[in-house]
């Protein structure tokens, strides 16, 4: 297990910190799934993101037109 991977008890603690109490019999499976997701997403750390902003658009001026169907 690499230093980045969560153990079952660590997965339970992290989830509890977020307000989600996990039953003990699910800790191992959730840790395994979370570690797999992490291994996929961690590839993004290779990117040189520089000053690149996140994608979501945000427009301060909200349109006030009525909805149309």
């Amino acid at each position: 297990m690499s230093a980045e991977e969560l153990t079952p008890s660590e997965a339970a603690r992290w989830a509890a910190r977020g307000g989600l109490l996990l039953p003990a019999d699910r800790h191992a499976a959730i840790a395994a799934t979370a570690n797999h997701i992490h291994s996929v997403v961690a590839v993004l750390r290779e990117l040189n993101l520089g000053d690149t902003p996140p994608a979501p658009a945000y427009r301060a001026s909200q349109e006030r037109r009525d909805a149309t169907v």
């Binding site: 997701i37 690149t52 009525d66 909805a67």
Partner: protein
């Protein structure tokens, strides 16, 4: 030919010419549902009484000279993720067992305004978080998966149980089941169709779109549904246009990008052959083929997961804490594990998306569209969990089905999937056309031109 066999365009022409009444069409499709639904299970709810009432109203209005356009009197299915007032939106989940939508989603309201007739709600993979739709069976082979998450919609259209349907697409959920069932699926530009009243899987990746028998049918539905709605913060203010493609099949002057990487990697040989053959057909119609390098492919899955996993978990945060046991096992564990992703990872995915959109825009300066396979494998057997490729590598079925669809969800570009043949097992093969944002008309023109060079497709008749 029975009315249920008609495409939307054919049915609309017959209704407008008063050769077919909406009541005859609705009765024919409902009869087809009664025969076929026990084998295919495309519908979560069939609203037969409401269907017949709406069809009678349509008949009355048209007879009185109040014809509203090509969707008037056309029976259709709506994915059970999309609100229709008075009907449950179960999202395929026990979490929503007691649900009843109070108002129409924007797209449902626009369908009603256009005179379309609701047949019912079609099955979705639970909360659209999966690629198989286990409730439903493939329209060509009941031992195979329907694909998902809009599996019920695609199967209903393929089997003649709906003249058209609506689906949603977060990582391929319109295009994957469309390809696996031999129908047309359009994921429009992000924000072109409003999502107000549509249950979210992942706000920044979700799209609504049509599933139809022909490309021209998809254009008719898109024309009726496009348009701004401020209740969806991503909704675009693009001007309304008629998307119906021209009759001409001449593609002279059009540059079609053919990927040299990614889209033809780890793909069934019969799919590669069928898609390349279809691309040759486009060349024969006058298009110029240009090899293109797809950018940032190493980061597609990471970006898709980095966006979708935490957004889905956020949407379900309350019910995951109160009624977790009501979720199916596959969805529950993804939602729970999503709690453990950091904000840093999510933001990296959003920043990666910025780069990917820029790179795709640059690539689409050199070509007018890209032609590629929709999925790397045809419909797998029910229960099959992995695919083994020729080089011995093993890939999860869901990962494989999402792989070629996800770039269009991440970048927001439109993607049209259309059938381009069958493999030796008789299972449909799909090709997708990807274009510049808001250039659906280009994709529809090319897809329609291709279809006109091909024999009319039969309805699926599952064995």
């Amino acid at each position: 030919m029975q009315p249920y066999e008609l495409s939307l365009t054919e049915a609309a022409d017959a209704i407008r010419a008063r050769q077919l009444s909406p009541v005859e069409l609705a009765d024919s499709v409902l009869e087809r549902i009664a025969q076929t639904e026990p084998h295919l299970h495309a519908y979560a709810t069939v609203t037969a009484e409401r269907t017949r009432r709406a069809a009678r109203e349509g008949e009355h209005d048209i007879a009185a000279g109040r014809y509203r356009g090509p969707l008037h009197g056309i029976p259709m299915g709506v994915k059970d993720l999309i609100d229709v007032a008075g009907v449950a939106t179960t999202a395929g989940s026990r979490v929503r067992a007691d649900h009843r939508a109070q108002t129409d989603s924007t797209v449902a309201a626009r369908l009603t305004r256009a005179g379309a007739v609701l047949l019912g709600k079609t099955h979705t993979h639970e909360f659209a978080y999966g690629l198989t739709t286990p409730q439903t069976r493939n329209a060509w082979d009941t031992g195979r998966v329907a694909g998902g998450s809009s599996g019920g919609s695609a199967v209903a259209v393929a089997a003649g149980m709906a003249t058209f349907a609506l689906g949603t697409d977060t990582g391929g959920s319109i295009r994957v089941p469309s390809a696996l069932n031999g129908v047309v699926g359009l994921k429009p530009t992000y924000g072109l169709l409003p999502r107000h009243g549509v249950t979210s899987l992942s706000w920044s990746l979700d799209h609504v779109g049509p599933i139809t028998r022909t490309v021209e049918d998809a254009a008719l539905v898109l024309t009726a549904l496009a348009g701004h709605d401020p209740r969806d913060p991503a909704s675009l203010t693009a001007p309304a246009i008629d998307y119906r493609p021209p009759a001409a099949v001449d593609l002279k002057g059009l540059r079609i990008g053919v990927p040299r990487n990614y889209y033809f990697d780890h793909i069934a040989p019969e799919i590669e052959a069928a898609v390349r053959h279809a691309i040759d057909q486009l060349q024969a119609l006058g298009a110029r083929l240009v090899e293109v390098e797809i950018p940032m492919t190493r980061y597609v899955q990471a970006t898709q997961w980095g966006l979708m996993v935490p957004e889905a978990t956020a949407y379900h945060a309350d019910t995951l804490r109160t009624v977790p046991e009501l979720y199916e096992a596959d969805v529950r564990i993804l939602l729970e594990a999503g709690e453990l992703m950091t904000a840093g990872d999510y933001l990296r995915a959003q920043r990666s998306r910025t780069l990917m959109r820029q790179e795709w825009a640059r690539m689409l300066e050199d070509v007018d569209l890209i032609a590629a396979p929709t999925v790397p494998a045809t419909a797998v057997r029910v229960g099959q969990e992995t695919i083994t490729w020729a080089d011995g590598s093993v890939e999860g079925v869901s990962d494989a089905y999402v792989r070629l669809s996800a770039p269009a969800n991440i970048t927001g570009v439109p993607s049209l999937s259309l059938p381009v043949g069958h493999d030796t097992a008789g299972l449909p093969i799909g090709m997708q056309l990807l274009g510049r944002p808001l250039e659906e008309s280009v994709l529809l023109r090319v897809g329609h031109a291709y279809e006109q060079t091909q024999p009319v497709r039969d309805l699926a008749r599952a064995t």
